[in-house]
C-alpha cells in the first residue's frame, strides 16, 4: 500500500502557496538580499579602485553579505511562521479535529516543521542566481557554500522548532510569535553577552578559567552569525574540519565551529520538539 505524505505538510504548503502572501514574502526576501548585496558590491568595487586583483575579495564579501542577510531574514521569518502554525489551528478551531483524528502528535509537529522548512528552503533556492554570481567573481568555493548553507539550515531548524514550541503553549498566534521572537532575540543577543561576561566574572574567583573559556567557545558555536564568521575565517586558514583555540597560551583542538553549530542546533531542536509534543498531547507520552 502506498504511504501518504504527511497530510499536515500537504495542507500547509497548499494553503500557504495559494495566498498572495507567499509571493510577496518571496519578493520581499529577494529584494532585501539582493539590495543589501548590491550596496556592498558597489561599495567594495569603488574602494578597490577597479583593480582586477580585488575581484576575489569582492566576490567573497558579496557572498558573505548574501548569506548573512538571508540568515538575518530567516532568523525572523522561521520562528514567526512556525509560531503561527499550531496556535493558528487553535484560533481557527481546527486543532481539536486534528487531535481526534488518527494523526500522532509527532506527525502534527513534524508536518508543521517540515512546512516551515520547505518554505525557507524555497527562499534559499530562489537566492541561488544571486549566489551563483559571486562564483563568477571568485573568492568562493563550493565547499564554503555547502558549509554556510548547512549552518543556515541547522539554525533555521532550531528557530523553527523554537517557534513550534511556543505555538503549542500559546492560545493565539500573536502571543506565540511574541514569545518565539523574544526567545530567538534573547538567544542571539544573550549568548555572546553570557560568553563574554561569565568567564570574566568567574576569573575574579578562579585563577584558571581556560575550561570555562572552551565551554563558552563551544556554546557560542550555536550562534549562527558567530558560527558563520568563525567558519569563514577558519576556511581561509584551511581549517575546515577542526580548529585550534588558544586560550591563555594553551591551545585546544576542537571540531570546526560549523560542525558544533549543526550538532548543538540539532540537539536544541530535538529538545524543543519533545517539549512541543508533550504540550499538545500529554497522553501520547504515556
Amino acid at each position: 500500500m502506498r504511504r501518504d505524505i504527511n497530510p499536515i505538510l500537504i495542507r500547509e504548503l497548499r494553503g500557504r502557496m495559494r495566498t498572495p502572501r507567499a509571493f510577496w514574502l518571496l519578493v520581499g526576501f529577494l529584494t532585501a538580499v539582493a539590495g543589501t548585496a548590491s550596496l556592498v558590491y558597489t561599495a567594495s568595487y569603488l574602494s578597490s579602485d577597479g583593480q582586477s586583483s580585488g575581484n576575489n575579495t569582492i566576490g567573497n564579501t558579496v557572498f558573505f553579505t548574501l548569506i548573512v542577510t538571508a540568515m538575518a531574514v530567516l532568523t525572523i521569518m522561521a520562528p514567526v511562521m512556525a509560531a503561527g502554525s499550531i496556535a493558528g489551528e487553535r484560533e481557527r478551531q481546527t486543532f481539536d479535529l486534528l487531535l481526534t483524528s488518527q494523526l500522532s502528535a509527532g506527525t502534527i509537529i513534524f508536518g508543521k516543521i517540515l512546512a516551515t522548512l520547505a518554505y525557507c528552503g524555497l527562499l534559499l533556492s530562489a537566492m541561488t542566481p544571486l549566489v551563483a554570481m559571486t562564483f563568477l567573481m571568485g573568492g568562493v568555493d563550493l565547499g564554503e557554500l555547502f558549509i554556510m548553507y548547512a549552518i543556515i539550515s541547522a539554525s533555521v531548524l532550531l528557530f523553527t522548532c523554537c517557534g513550534i514550541y511556543w505555538s503549542t503553549r500559546a492560545t493565539t498566534p500573536l502571543t506565540a510569535i511574541g514569545f518565539a521572537l523574544a526567545t530567538v532575540l534573547s538567544f542571539l543577543f544573550g549568548l555572546p553577552l553570557l560568553a563574554v561576561t561569565i568567564p570574566t566574572i568567574w576569573a575574579q574567583f578562579l585563577n584558571d578559567t581556560a575550561v570555562l573559556d572552551v565551554v563558552a567557545n563551544i556554546g557560542l558555536a550555536t550562534h549562527p552569525f558567530i558560527a558563520m564568521y568563525l567558519t569563514d575565517t577558519a576556511i581561509h586558514q584551511q581549517q575546515i574540519w577542526m580548529h585550534e583555540v588558544t586560550i591563555k597560551g594553551v591551545t585546544f583542538t576542537l571540531p570546526a565551529t560549523w560542525i558544533l553549530c549543526i550538532i548543538e542546533s540539532w540537539l536544541l531542536s530535538i529538545a524543543f520538539v519533545v517539549a512541543a509534543m508533550r504540550r499538545i498531547w500529554p497522553q501520547s507520552t504515556r
Binding site: 497548499r14 495559494r18 495566498t19 478551531q93 481539536d96 486534528l98 488518527q102 500529554p282
Partner: protein
C-alpha cells in the same frame, strides 16, 4: 457500547463533571441536555479523548479512553460546536485532507468523498471554497468529515446551533438516516424540540451531576403532573371553582372565560374522573384534552429545585 464509569473531571478546584455513571446501548441516539456549565461539553471532550479524566473512565466498545485513546479515536466521529475553516480550500479538498488524517487509502478516497458529499447533499458544492459555504452547508460538511472513517459512534456538540429552520430540518433528516444505519449518536443541544424528535435516550446533567438518564419515552411518561385543556362552549364561571376543588388539581389557569388550563397529578383514571365531574355538573365542555408531555417540561421538572 459506551460506558461512562464514575467519570469525574476537575479543573483546579472546579468540578466540571462529578461521577457520571451510565451505559449507552449500541445504536441509541442519546441527547445530552443541561444548562450552560452542566458538563455536556466536558463529557464529550472526555469521550473524544481531547482531555483526560481526573478519575473514572469511559469505555467505547470495551476500549478505554485513558489507556487506549488512539483506538477510541478510530471508533468516534466528532463534530464540535464550531466549524473551523482553512483558507483557500474547497469542500472536496477539505474532506480529502481529513481522509488523509484518518489514513484512508488513496484508492478509495475519491469515491468516498463523492459519496459523502452526496449523502450530505453538497455534491454541487464540491469545488466551492469552504469559507464561502453557508452555516448550514458548513455543518453538513462537518458531519461528512466526521463520517469519513465510518465510525460506530458520532459525537455531535450543538450541531443545530445557529442554523436556520430549513437547515435544522435537513440536519435532523440526516441524523435520522444515520440512526437508521445503526450509528450510536451522542448529541448535545439547547433546542429540546429537536432532541425530542431525534433521541431514543436522554442524559440530563446539572452542575456536573447526572440528574436523569433513561429512554425518552420513560422520561416523558414519568412526569408527575399533566396539563389538561378544558374549553367550554360558553363562559362558565362555575368551572373554575369545580376544578380548583378537584382532588388531583395542582393549579388552574383561566386563560379565557371559556378556556382553562389545569395542572394536575394522578393517572388516566383521574383525568377521566375530572371529565365525569364536569359532565355531571352540566358544564358545556367543547374540548377536553391532555396536552402531550414535552421535553421542555420534563427538563424543567427534572431539574427543578437544583439551583
Amino acid at each position: 457500547m459506551i460506558v461512562f464509569d464514575k467519570l469525574r473531571k476537575l479543573y483546579g478546584d472546579f468540578c466540571a463533571l462529578d461521577g457520571l455513571d451510565c451505559t449507552i446501548p449500541k445504536g441509541a441516539t442519546v441527547g445530552l441536555i443541561g444548562p450552560n456549565g452542566a458538563g455536556k461539553t466536558t463529557s464529550m471532550r472526555l469521550l473524544t479523548t481531547l482531555i483526560t479524566p481526573t478519575s473514572g473512565d469511559v469505555l467505547v466498545d470495551g476500549v478505554s479512553v485513558t489507556t487506549q485513546p488512539h483506538l477510541v479515536r478510530r471508533m468516534i466521529g466528532y463534530m464540535p460546536d464550531t466549524f473551523g475553516v482553512y483558507e483557500a480550500m474547497t469542500a472536496a479538498e477539505y474532506l480529502d485532507f481529513y481522509a488523509r488524517c484518518y489514513h484512508i487509502p488513496v484508492a478509495t478516497r475519491p469515491a468516498l468523498i463523492n459519496d459523502l458529499l452526496g449523502l450530505v447533499d453538497l455534491a454541487s458544492k464540491r469545488d466551492a471554497l469552504v469559507m464561502s459555504l453557508s452555516r448550514g452547508m458548513a455543518q453538513r460538511l462537518s458531519l461528512a468529515r466526521a463520517l469519513l472513517h465510518d465510525p460506530a459512534v458520532l459525537v455531535l456538540d450543538e450541531p443545530a446551533s445557529g442554523l436556520d429552520p430549513r437547515a435544522r430540518i435537513e440536519l435532523r433528516a440526516l441524523l435520522h438516516e444515520l440512526h437508521d444505519q445503526g450509528k450510536t449518536i451522542l448529541i448535545s443541544s439547547h433546542i429540546l424540540s429537536d432532541l425530542a424528535d431525534l433521541c431514543t435516550h436522554l442524559i440530563i446533567l446539572e452542575q456536573g451531576k447526572l440528574v436523569a438518564y433513561d429512554t425518552l419515552t420513560a422520561l416523558l411518561s414519568a412526569q408527575q403532573s399533566r396539563r389538561i385543556v378544558i374549553q367550554t362552549l360558553t363562559p362558565t364561571p362555575a368551572l373554575y371553582a369545580l376544578v380548583t376543588h378537584f382532588n388531583y388539581t395542582i393549579s388552574v389557569d383561566p386563560q379565557l372565560p371559556t378556556r382553562y388550563i389545569v395542572q394536575m397529578t394522578g393517572d388516566d383514571a383521574a383525568q377521566a374522573e375530572l371529565l365525569k365531574v364536569c359532565i355531571e355538573h352540566n358544564i358545556p365542555v367543547q374540548q377536553f384534552a391532555s396536552e402531550a408531555n414535552t421535553l421542555e417540561r420534563t427538563f424543567l421538572q427534572v431539574t427543578a429545585g437544583l439551583n
